[in-house]
Symmetry: D5
Subunit: 146 residues, 10 copies
């Protein structure tokens, strides 16, 4: 069973049980965003957590195995099409230089890791229209000299 087949199975079990990523995250004890990335095939999961996910959805050992596989993290569209994802790409394009300047001024020459990294999504209720709040948290890695 590859990651894509695993993902189809998980998403359809989740739909059938009417569970949300938030409910699943709470049940398993991990962030819903990270759980979703694992179930969609973009993160690998350690055995006990993989087992909990499978149990929650009444799925079998092959799903547990597939969740544990280290993924190849690939995407088809260098410039994304879907409007929700494109807006995030646009933020990187419009504010990338700004973020580089602000981060390196505070931290020195280096980058924010996308590996030692976590991210979450929250809803901020607002009478003028609810707001999506995405928080990214990555370790600062200074460039080495050698």
């Amino acid at each position: 069973m590859n990651k894509e087949q695993m993902s189809d199975l998980i998403v359809s079990a989740k739909t059938q049980k009417s569970m949300t990523w938030n409910q699943m995250g709470e049940a398993v004890g991990v962030s819903p965003t990270w759980l979703a990335s694992a179930c969609l095939g973009m993160s690998s999961v350690k055995e006990p957590v993989a087992q909990k996910i499978a149990d929650l959805l009444d799925l079998g050992a092959d799903v547990v195995q597939a969740l544990m596989v280290y993924p190849t993290k690939e995407w088809d569209k260098a410039i994304p099409n879907d409007p929700l994802i494109y807006r995030l790409y646009e933020v990187v394009g419009v504010y990338g230089e700004t973020l580089k300047s602000v981060i390196q001024e505070q931290f020195g020459d280096g980058i924010m890791s996308a590996i030692d990294f976590s991210m979450d999504v929250e809803k901020e209720e607002d009478p003028k229209g609810d707001r999506v709040v995405i928080t990214m948290n990555g370790k600062f890695l200074p460039y080495k000299s050698w």
Copy 2:
């Protein structure tokens, strides 16, 4: 004076006065990240704030004018090169589908606006290495039917 010339002038005045974006943001009363994006030419500034920025750096009326111009928001590299900016692009590639799934499950069919949007950067001190925390806050826009 175009945005690029304006940006060169501002950055070099800022360097000469040894001011940080944080200090400038505090002095002007706006977010340092937004201030940086305006000074780097990617946002337009209303007159009173533009005047404050120029005063702070002892710059003239042409800088005030240039800050107020509505920018053309363009970037050269569809796939960014600089490692700091690339990591943000990678986050969009790796976690884009995840974010779409998590956001639309909570909010319905729609997107997070990149226009009615704000973003900030903070430093989280950590003995194992300080962490960069980026918070993005955008209005949820539901798709219309018509």
Copy 3:
């Protein structure tokens, strides 16, 4: 049933019943253009409307479900080939800067939303050759400062 299978089913039922998008739009009480976008898999439909569409074409519950799914809005050709679609792309290329200048002069720094958005097509009869009239209507979103 995915969106593509749904779309094939709907288009072929529509052909068999010799219905036009205009007739379907009128029967369902929505714009024919929006209805077409939903039936071609590029918009999601709320349950009662999805049911009406399925009833109109004698299609089953799986089509209703598929119409309700939030779509991934993707297209294959960054630069479209089909002459009808290319002409629209050309309009954006030739007149994009013009539209930016005219809109921002009237509305301020911001954009026309493509989400809080509707669009319709009409035929203008003309002895020298009928004319296609496309009307796009999108909410103006001003850039935030923060």
Copy 4:
């Protein structure tokens, strides 16, 4: 004087005189959108209208000549970056197939001309946020058989 130099001169005279495209269009007796496209170098202008534009802005014969030149209509970015222009590109991507289906059902096999074509922008006031209304009007051209 090439189109680019002409455009710089016109835009800066227009700014100095605090004229809008709408005022200029009214004064000259043409659509503000078309006038803007000509002044930005993407349309050619017949002699009497070119003269009126130059008179309105106190510009000389070289501007008149430059306005009359047939332009090379080129754009740098196959996929536009600027958010306002990108949203129009996105509309073509998301709704292109829809528009093809709706138009060809009403008109037969053919296209909407982008040459025998006009376009205008209007502001629709709305308490929930003003709306941009773009109307495109192009001659339907049926494919020939031969």
Copy 5:
């Protein structure tokens, strides 16, 4: 039956009957080049002509239907590979500016339509090597002002 299946059927019936495009064009009373474009799926055919084509090749009603469908005119290679087709692309690249200058000098600001358009191929016998003569005939469309 889609255009691709139709095209395979027609080409193989044509091969089996050893008919050429020229013979088929003559039998049907249309240009062989246009007939070929229709049979290869790039033009739509009105009912009576579609019937004649099917009769000529002893093909059924599904081929008639498929010939009448309005095609999506797409090609895979933005820059063609096949040497015969590439040479035509090269002609556009090398002589495109020349054609623009020569045509617009004679006709005014506008284009040659690729829709109200016909094209034919002839063989010019020549002792030093026969020559291919392609004639393109398109309506001149002047740009509108508005």
Copy 6:
């Protein structure tokens, strides 16, 4: 003097003398289309013809030299933007397979040369709108076996 400087000089002398490519072609005794391609820098000219062109426009020996140089035939846009040139590209895309099939059926396996090649433009008057007629004439080159 490079081809670009030569071209600027020729085009501006031609404008000043109000000569058309047709008049120049007639005066020099060559096709106006070929003459235009040479004057725009995409063909090289033998000495006597180069001299005639220069004489006609009162230009000097450096223009004669520059006309004789063998050009590097390059174009910037793999997919052209200008609508007049794009339509020609579209013809190649839409009808390329058709032309390959029609030509190779008549001539055998091979191509139409774009080197041993000529091309002309004529105006066909038509009450419903004048038509542009482009004739391309290239030697057929059969593939060798060896």
Copy 7:
């Protein structure tokens, strides 16, 4: 049977019979390189030679037919990946301008045909490492004036 199926059949028959392209070329009386290009689907073969190839490999009439078809000469990778093929691409990139200068100085303004063209590969034994010798032989085609 299409070219790809034909090619698979030929290559596997050739492997089973342990024949080399050199042995096949000698047996058929043609260049091994050209024979290979035909068997890999990139050249068409006249009937008697196609028959000889099929006989040599005990293959049937469908292979004969498939060898005779005029191929569509397409390749997937605009910039090749395989190191052997990339090196040839690199030679064109590094020495292309050089070859243009050397050839046109000797022959005049024109090109080396890739159609009236042959090519062979030989092994030059060398104690420091054997060498590959590729010889390309193409007719010079001078540009026409007209």
Copy 8:
């Protein structure tokens, strides 16, 4: 003096002295093709040969220095435009797989070096049209196992 300035100086001195690459190669005692590649900036030259080239053209020590610099071998067009260079690219595209198959059958798994490599151009006179003969000679490099 960079390679580009050097190349301009050499080519213009060569033109003024009416020397060909063949004459220069003979005078210097190297292949004309290699000499051309060095003078056009794509190969580096050892000191004594660089001196001979400069002497031949009455050029100074800065040209000698520039000839000796190790070049950055870059080209602008991933797919070349100029017809002469494109034909070489086409040969790689059409016959690349063929060459891989023929070479590896004779030599084993490996490649033809483009570094330990030489290439020459000759004219083969032919009453039906002279022919260009390009010979490439590269060391075979077998893949290592390790």
Copy 9:
């Protein structure tokens, strides 16, 4: 059996037997990195080694044959996506000019071969986090003059 099928078989036998590339390399007597490249289809293997690999994993003669085939070395993504592979690409981008300068200064004008080449991976234990050490070893190939 093609390389892809072979690779799937090998990887799944290896998983079932819980063998690592390191254990397999030791058992076969070759570098684990090279062994992995062969098993993943990017290197060809001589018969005795192929037999040993198959024996080790209890696989049959078809795997032995498939391991011996000379591979077509192709990759899909010109710019890799997977973060581990992208980092290597980034190293080439950021430090490519540096490596060229350092290598050519020490060795002269030439390159490091990627064919007469080996590469290994080692783990360097480090209390602050283990380190990956990649060693590349390629023959220096000087450019020839000729």
Copy 10:
């Protein structure tokens, strides 16, 4: 003084003093490869080291300042052209999957950092041709779950 001007100054001072990167590295007490990357503008340098570099080459305070600036690490060619750099790119393409498999098997799911990273070049003398040895050393970063 920007990084490019700095780099030109340093390289020309280095040439004038006939110093190698190795000698400079030894004199300054850092790796020659890292020193080269800093002098070519791809790494930032702390003040005392920047001073030593400037002293060594008799360059002024502006060079010291420029060496300390945090660079924007950009490269023009997504696929490099220069043969030396291309070979490194090819190694990533051919062996990327292999390295991912070998590294993740030894270290777990994660990557080799290109930031907490060093790299050196050595010459391995060999009678059959000297060899280039590149050693890359990067911290292993495991993916976080959260």
